[in-house]
């Protein structure tokens, strides 16, 4: 970490994969040898990726900390910074990375539980980091169910990994899209509806949700109905973030700095936030 | 003024008249100074005063907006709006202390290649007298 907290480390883009028309995954490697070796992070943490001269924005780390030497971020084209990232960057370019920031998922506490991953669209990125970490030490965890929703089949990200997830031990993958096209064979419908069909069992299970707020809003009651305790429902709060270390004030919800005290919260904590999220 | 000062002038040329006029000046081999960086716009009415302001504040030495003569406009009223808009902008820039020679406007039709050359060389002379734009450095 630099003495000046605003200074990024430089990273080279090794590989860019186009997931969907507006989502790209960037594989980055730190230029500085020492940083590359001891850059440690937890799944669910995020970094501030800056295209120097254009802008900076927070992105969760989609790669798993168990696979060393590189980090991956999946970026959807939304605002000024992401537009610059999508239009200007090619393989070999250099970007700035600040971080890792945020509290990340508490993997230790999840050990020994069944895991229910619920992802919506680009929300699969932070979950992929956690998922690959659990698959890399598979024996510590119970049954894994993955429910991944998207608007249309071409909005599904990480299609190339569905194979390995499907074949992993005691793991089931369920895909659902809001509106299907002719080539679509799996479920159709929003994630809460798909959840009702799958009916995952809730005892000794932890549900991890990530996706657009509208999806979280309608999925939470379904999970509560199924018997999930609020402490066992973990989600990430989406807020505007700029500094990433709890000072600039953009991400405040009530007295909490989402970037430093979050972005991962369990539902019991979120209920205590008076401000509606 | 040091002699080798080559002013940077940004020219917003309306596509139907001035751009064609400049093109005619080129094709009929009329020689004129090459300080104008031309930006082609559909009509002089398309030029937002913010473009002119941004050019001057970012350090351009001069800005020239050139369009069709009155009632020659391809869109029939574009240059009317431009005329009114830039009459006010010129007064504001002058009032705030930006040298009024730095922003000029001209009507050049598609057949007036020589007039275009005259306008450009006239402007380059004036900007050379006005000197480089160091106000916002």
């Amino acid at each position: 970490m630099h003495e000046n907290i605003y200074l990024p480390n430089l990273c080279k883009i090794e590989k860019i994969t186009d997931e969907t028309p507006d989502v790209k995954t960037f594989k980055l490697a730190f230029l500085d040898e020492s940083v590359r070796n001891n850059f440690t992070y937890k799944p669910g943490q995020f970094v501030e990726l800056s295209v120097l001269g254009e802008g900076e924005a927070p992105f969760c780390l989609a790669s798993s900390p168990t696979r060393r030497g590189f980090i991956e971020c999946s970026i959807k084209k939304m605002g000024k910074a992401t537009q610059a990232i999508h239009d200007l960057l090619e393989e070999g370019d250099v970007v700035g990375i600040r971080g890792p920031y945020g509290n990340g998922f508490s993997v230790e506490e999840m050990k020994g539980n069944d895991l229910l991953f619920i992802a919506g669209g680009i929300g699969l990125a932070p979950l992929r980091s956690l998922l690959n970490t659990t698959l890399d030490n598979r024996t510590d965890f119970g049954k894994i169910t993955i429910v991944n929703g998207a608007r249309t089949p071409k909005d599904l990200v990480y299609k190339y990994e569905y194979e390995t997830w499907q074949k992993a031990k005691n793991t089931s993958l369920h895909l659902t899209v809001d509106c299907a096209d002719e080539s679509w064979s799996c479920m159709v419908g929003v994630v809460p509806k798909a959840l009702k069909e799958i009916k995952p069992c809730c005892d000794n299970a932890v549900a991890i949700i990530c996706g657009p707020p509208i999806m979280i809003k309608f999925t939470l009651p379904v999970l509560i109905e199924m018997g999930f305790r609020p402490e066992d429902i973990v989600t990430t709060l989406e807020r505007k973030m700029q500094c990433g270390f709890g000072k600039c004030g953009h991400c405040m919800v009530g007295g909490i700095y989402v970037c430093k005290d979050g972005p991962v919260f369990n539902y019991a904590q979120i209920e205590k936030f008076k401000e509606e999220f | 003024m040091n002699e080798n000062f080559e002013p940077k002038i940004i020219g917003f040329l309306c596509n139907w008249c001035s751009y064609a006029g400049a093109d005619l000046a080129g094709s009929s081999r009329i020689s004129y100074p090459s300080n104008v960086r031309v930006i082609r716009v559909p009509c002089s009415g398309r030029v937002n005063p913010l473009f002119v302001l941004r050019c001057l504040i970012k350090g351009a030495d001069g800005v020239l907006v050139s369009g069709c003569h009155i009632n020659d406009c391809h869109y029939s009223e574009g240059n009317y709006h431009a005329r009114r808009r830039f009459a006010v902008l010129k007064q504001l820039l002058d009032y705030l202390g930006i040298d009024s020679r730095r922003f000029q406007m001209s009507w050049v039709s598609a057949a007036e290649g020589d007039k275009w050359a005259k306008v450009v060389s006239g402007m380059v002379e004036e900007i050379k007298k006005a000197g480089p734009n160091k106000q916002f450095k």
Binding site: G55, G79, K80, Q83 | P49, L50, L53, R54, I57, K58, I70, E77, Y80, H81, R83, R84, R85, F86, A87, V88, L89, K90, Q91, L92, L93, D94, Y95, L96, G97, I98, D99, S100, Q104, M105, S106, W107, V119, G122, Q135, F136
Partner: protein, 290 residues
Amino acid sequence: MIKKLQEEVKKLLAEKKVNMVIGYARAGDAINAIPYFIANPEECGALIWDKTCIYNLTNYLIDMRNKKVGIIVKGCDVRSVVCLIQENQIKKENVIVIGLQCAGVFDKKGAELGAVGRERAAKCKSCNVHTPPLFDILIEDKEMNQKVLQQEDSYKEIREIENKSPEERFDYWKKELSKCIKCYACRQVCPLCYCPVCVADQTMPQWFSRSLSLEGNFAWNTVRAFHLAGRCIDCGECERVCPMGIPLRKINKKLEKEVKELFGHESGVDAEKKPLFSTFSKDDPEEFIK
């Protein structure tokens, strides 16, 4: 005068003609006036009207576009209501204008100290709309009619600056505008600054620097003034609220003078007239065009 004002407002609210009236009330410190929003008729007692009522309340009409609202305005303020109608931002049938005859209000210092006999605001010295040009209900001011309200030449200071040399002018404005801290109070208080995303906030493209460099400050204040050319009604609020005391009115008044000389256009006088830059005339001056 206040009695009549309170009765009119109570009548309006009682008859449900409007569901809210915006007026002035006394602040907690019993000196200043503050904007006051009344929904039920009983609260009309709090309404006041005196020299400390300096705000231009038409700014609040923008966020209440689809509600029926009554608004209490002075002569200079009502011109911004006319402008807003001209620019189709508010519909006349939604707004009931309660005009007040005004003999002039305090300047910012006077309003804060509530001192009697304090200097009248600069805009009032050259005011020619003591009786609002447009109103649905008029509240007369009996004593005002006798007073002889002299009118100063309002462009005196503008001419002073015009007579300076360009370098002097640039130095003057450079010193003034470098004080700007970009709190955007001048934009937020102005009734005619209602763009959903202001040019200063846009990021795609980002027109000019957000930093407090000379480049950023100069660009912001120039664009703000230009966007008000031919629209500014000289209510003086931007200059009043500027915490750094930048004489913003001097830029707006210059444009008001130019617009009157060049095109004979006066803002906020006649609701049917089209705004300055959305129309043109065949014989606009063009000697500056080569």
